[in-house]
Amino acid sequence: MVERRPTLGILAHVVLILGVLVVAFPLYVTFVASTQTAAEIVQAPMSLLPGSHLIENYTAALQGTGMGQASNAPVGRMMMISLITALVIAFGKIAISLLSAFAIVYFRFPFRMFFFWAIFVTLMLPVEVRIGPTYAVVASLGMLNTYAGLTVPLIASATATFLFRQFFLTVPDELVEAARIDGAGPMRFFKDILVPLSTTSIAALFVIQFIYGWNQYLWPLLVTTNENMYPVVIGIKRMISGGDAATDWNIVMATAVLAMIPPALVVILMQRWFVKGLVDTEK
């Protein structure tokens, strides 16, 4: 790090380049596969140069005109469902977490610490543990195959509440007192001062929660049975036929690439905010 020696520099680059290759190669193969025909892919060895069917495959995937024997639902619609789900989850989580952290930090009410710990304890429970009862509740409320069923159970978030709580605790008390003297009531203080101060944290959380929502697999697998409500991640799974039936791997790969684009865009576009939100605080 501090030393400047050419051999070390070369070694460092070799390690880094190897790392990039290990991570990037599967992505490249996915892309290459998405530009070939189904027949070309199953040849061994498969060609590692891009084929000539790029536009054809992607159009087929987006419009659901593939010839596969499993699901052929249009990916365009799935992307839309994934986008709506991910956005609702991200914004829902942020809104609920901001409010509950605000209540826990700034209000004195009976059993305050009990509620805090109740939220905190759910941090330790993975979704899989409570998936059975949650499914029962959602099913009996008739929320299967609906946006509500896809999003509501995933909105409550202990992690985000905890993060905002920690941030609120660092806001100086004098700021609260100055607002009180200025005549700002609790919600006014929340809206005018706390939320604007939290923008970087909110942005960071948005990135995390958007990707979390987009990549949901287990939960949508349970609550969607109708092709019209498949998020794209489930769509990929449904496109792969089991047994001896042929799978349109070119279309599956095109779908996989399409599914990667929105989260990647969110990360790239919000990178600056993301790092800022996790690293520094404006006070």
Binding site: P172, E174, D182, G183, A184, D192, I193
Partner: protein, 356 residues
């Protein structure tokens, strides 16, 4: 208008027998337009008292009235006060203008009037060119002025200052002190100013309240507090270096300390055990053998315009301040200390109250 009455005010944290009392029955009447400084060591309750006036702390006992209206249960925003905090407490995401206008905006003051009031305050404080900046783009002194501007635009009956100068460097502090004084002259608003710095207290105060351990030790003009400290605490706290306080037996015009007899320039107010106080600047040193106390010079400190001479007589230590232009005694010399009789302060040993 703008008068503050503090009547038997108490502050306790917790309830019942476990309650922790931090302020024990403070009484003070502050007239309209007066500049009163509350001074005391850290933890004496001075900030708590100010925050009770502001409404940021609940009042556990007694009552506080502002402009003749008891405000014990009134929200801070309805007490007609404005407060300047030690760390300024500016809203970091708002511009200077928005910071100053926020309170007025909430009070639904018309926009034109907000503009006019902020402009006026900005003019007084010379902040005009910074109105669109964010607090983080300002220096400490400028932030301090914005905090004052935020107080001024509210046009309150009372200004409350909670150690507003302690985050500034020494030069800026002196400058801001003068500005606050000037501002007070211009606006004539009742001000309550908390500080632990006795120089600030002496220079700013029309009257000062000296507090210690949750009790008010003395309230009076700086002259009164300096010349006639009410207790040994005030005597030791106000004045730098602090007043020499010596416990001994008074007997007519003799004062006996640890078996040594020191002659007094006049008779003690009464006989028996007393504490004698003498300010370092009110004593003068003569060559040995003159009439007075014979002391041995232990140490010298040069402060520029003056010199501190630390002397001893047996177990008694004594500080004397002399002009730096005078030829100083040498360490180990014996010198005579003299003082005028009216410069001696006498305190009761048990109550620490002033006798004469």
């Amino acid at each position: 208008m703008g008068a503050i009455s503090i009547r038997k005010v108490e502050k306790r944290y917790g309830h019942g027998p476990k309650a922790n009392a931090v302020i024990h029955g403070v009484n003070a009447e502050i007239a309209d337009g007066e500049f009163v400084v509350i001074v005391g060591p850290s933890g004496c309750g001075k900030s708590t008292l100010l925050r009770m006036v502001a409404g940021l702390e609940e009042i556990s006992g007694g009552e506080i009235a502002i402009s003749g209206r008891v405000v014990n249960d009134t929200e801070p925003s309805e007490r007609d006060i404005a407060m300047v905090f030690q760390n300024y407490a500016l809203y970091p995401h708002m511009s200077v203008f928005e910071n100053m206008a926020y309170g007025l905006k909430i009070a639904k003051v018309p926009l034109a009037e907000i503009q006019q009031r902020v402009d006026k305050a900005a003019k007084i404080l010379e902040l005009g060119q910074f109105l669109q900046r964010k607090p983080r783009e300002l220096s400490g002194g400028q932030r301090q002025r914005v905090a004052m501007g935020r107080a001024i635009v509210r046009q309150p009956q009372v200004f409350l200052f909670d150690e507003p100068l302690s985050n500034l460097d020494a030069k800026l502090r002196a400058q801001t002190r003068l500005e606050i004084q000037k501002l007070h002259k211009e606006l004539g608003v009742t001000s309550l100013f908390v500080t632990h710095d006795q120089v600030e207290a002496m220079t700013l105060a029309e009257r000062m309240i000296v507090m210690n351990a949750g009790r008010m030790e003395q309230i009076g003009t700086p002259e009164e507090v300096y010349h006639r400290p009410a207790t040994t605490f005030v005597a030791g706290f106000i004045g730098s270096p602090p007043m020499n306080l010596i416990k001994g037996q008074a007997d007519g015009s003799r004062f006996i300390v640890d078996g040594q007899t020191l002659p007094l320039p006049g008779a003690a107010p009464r006989s028996g055990e007393l504490i004698l106080g003498l300010r370092p600047e009110h004593a003068s040193l003569r060559p040995a053998g003159n009439l007075g106390w014979q002391l041995k010079v232990e140490m010298l400190e040069m402060l520029g315009a003056e010199r501190l001479v630390y002397c001893s007589a047996g177990s008694v230590l004594f500080t004397v301040r002399v002009e730096a232009t005078l030829v100083p005694p040498k360490i180990g010399d014996i010198v005579t200390l003299q003082a005028a009789p009216d410069q001696l302060h006498w305190f009761d040993v048990a109550t620490t109250q002033r006798i004469a």
